[in-house]
């Protein structure tokens, strides 16, 4: 796959501490990772500081990336998600009164997508239902664990896990042609 080959080349250049690779990495992935971080923190200044730290961590710890355990994006996503969760839990963040309450939930999929919708993702998201979108948003974007979602949505843990998986697989089914 061209993308994988390209990413392994990118990783190699990052390992060589090539600054242009960091430049490229940032240009291609910063917005996607910032979306995750910002939705977790809902605070631009803190989110931007976090993004800064995340990219430096990616840059400094690229040798910890193991392709056999997943894609480069998955690895970077974990770093961004965990870092954002840590910031949200920090006293610094709580002092600024950034509530980690889910009650003020806003469906982020209501707004227009950032990317050109060439794969028809918007239509697919509309089809999978409000609960699916909420579970995905809470788990993937806002940094809540299955257990936290279960507690806050008053839904059994097993149900959260199963429904989330089914939601994701239904996206895959509806976009089947892209997964061949």
């Amino acid at each position: 796959m061209v993308t994988k080959d390209f990413n392994s080349l990118l990783v190699k250049r990052l390992l060589d501490k090539d600054p242009t690779a960091l430049d490229y990495l940032y240009d291609h992935y910063s917005s996607a990772l910032y979306g995750i971080i910002f939705k977790t923190l809902n605070h631009h200044e803190m989110a931007e500081e976090t993004l800064h730290d995340v990219f430096l961590k990616i840059w400094n710890q690229i040798e910890k990336f193991d392709r056999s355990k997943g894609t480069l994006f998955t690895w970077m996503y974990r770093i961004a998600r965990n870092r954002a969760i840590d910031v949200r839990r920090s006293t610094d963040f709580k002092v600024q009164d950034k509530s980690d309450d889910i009650t003020g939930f806003v469906d982020m999929f209501e707004s227009e997508g950032n990317q050109e919708d060439y794969i028809g993702l918007s239509g697919v998201l509309n089809e999978i239902g409000a609960m699916c979108k909420k579970l995905i948003q809470l788990n993937f974007f806002m940094g809540y664990s299955h257990a936290e979602i279960s507690e806050k949505e008053e839904m059994p843990l097993g149900t959260v896990k199963t429904r989330l998986r089914n939601c994701l697989l239904s996206i895959k089914d509806k976009l089947k042609k892209d997964f061949e």
């Binding site: 430049d23 917005s31 910002f38 631009h44 800064h52 430096l56 990317q115 995905i136 788990n139």
Partner: protein, 254 residues
């Protein structure tokens, strides 16, 4: 944990988000690397996550990138002690090299200075030699001029009974009052003695200067305008006010 549990109970999603314990993580990784179905579903979920993330991307402020690019070297500095050590080693090396070089060049410099000093000495010797030759030449030129000049009268002073074999030649130019004297035939004198030339005019001796016998060249004597005769006596060094006639060596009439 079996394959169906992993698939149905959402472990792969939890693995992606990093919610699992390290023990669960190891087990899931084992399945991903060994089971095609698990691996396939994991890759599908990764792909969906990436699609959704890009679909919901938010552009951060431009300053973030600038700061990241500026700060990317900060971490490196902690490991840069090796660079520091290298630089210290390099500076020590440079110090040693320059010390050796300065010793070497000091040696070269000293040797050059010795050579220069030698050359200066040689030059001085040559200059002295040249000056000597030049003086000789000048002296000879004077003698030649004196001998050949029609203005100089050549007067032979013959030996008295005190020095029968002695003979002195005197050149006198009464117009210019100049007197030159060749003392080469006079005998050497004991310590403390000098010859003295006298001009005799109307029986009165006039001091015409003292000279040494061993100076084998023309002696320039005092200026004398008028003389009937010349005589040389032996006197104390520096000369006497009046001649000691008993010591007269040579005598000749002008």
């Amino acid at each position: 944990m079996n394959k169906q549990e992993i698939l149905k109970e959402g472990y792969l999603v939890a693995y992606i988000t990093g919610e699992l314990t390290s023990e669960q993580t190891r087990e899931i990784e084992k399945f991903i690397s060994s089971d095609e179905e698990v691996k396939h579903e994991y890759e599908d979920l990764e792909r969906i996550l990436e699609m959704l993330s890009f679909d919901r991307a938010v552009t951060p402020a431009a300053t973030v990138k600038k700061l990241i690019m500026e700060h990317r070297d900060v971490q490196k500095k902690s490991t840069d002690h090796s660079m520091l050590r290298y630089m210290v080693a390099a500076s020590v090396f440079i110090a040693i090299v320059s010390a050796v070089a300065s010793l070497y060049y000091r040696g070269e410099w000293q040797s050059a200075e010795r050579e220069l000093s030698d050359l200066n000495l040689q030059h001085q010797e040559l200059a002295e030699g040249f000056q000597f030759v030049k003086n000789e030449l000048a002296s000879n030129q004077v003698q030649f001029d004196v001998v050949n000049s029609p203005d100089f009268r050549r007067i032979i002073l013959d030996g008295t009974p005190n020095a029968a074999s002695a003979k002195t030649v005197l050149f006198w130019n009464p117009e210019q009052e100049e007197i030159y004297l060749n003392s080469s035939t006079l005998a050497a004198l004991p310590e403390g003695k000098q010859y003295q030339l006298w001009a005799l005019k109307d029986g009165q001796p006039i001091d015409a200067g003292v000279f040494d016998a061993d100076a084998a060249s023309f002696q320039v004597m005092k200026n004398i305008a008028q003389a009937d005769a010349f005589a040389v006596t032996v006197e104390q060094v520096g000369g006497a006010a009046s001649p000691t006639l008993s010591t007269m060596q040579v005598y000749g009439e002008a």
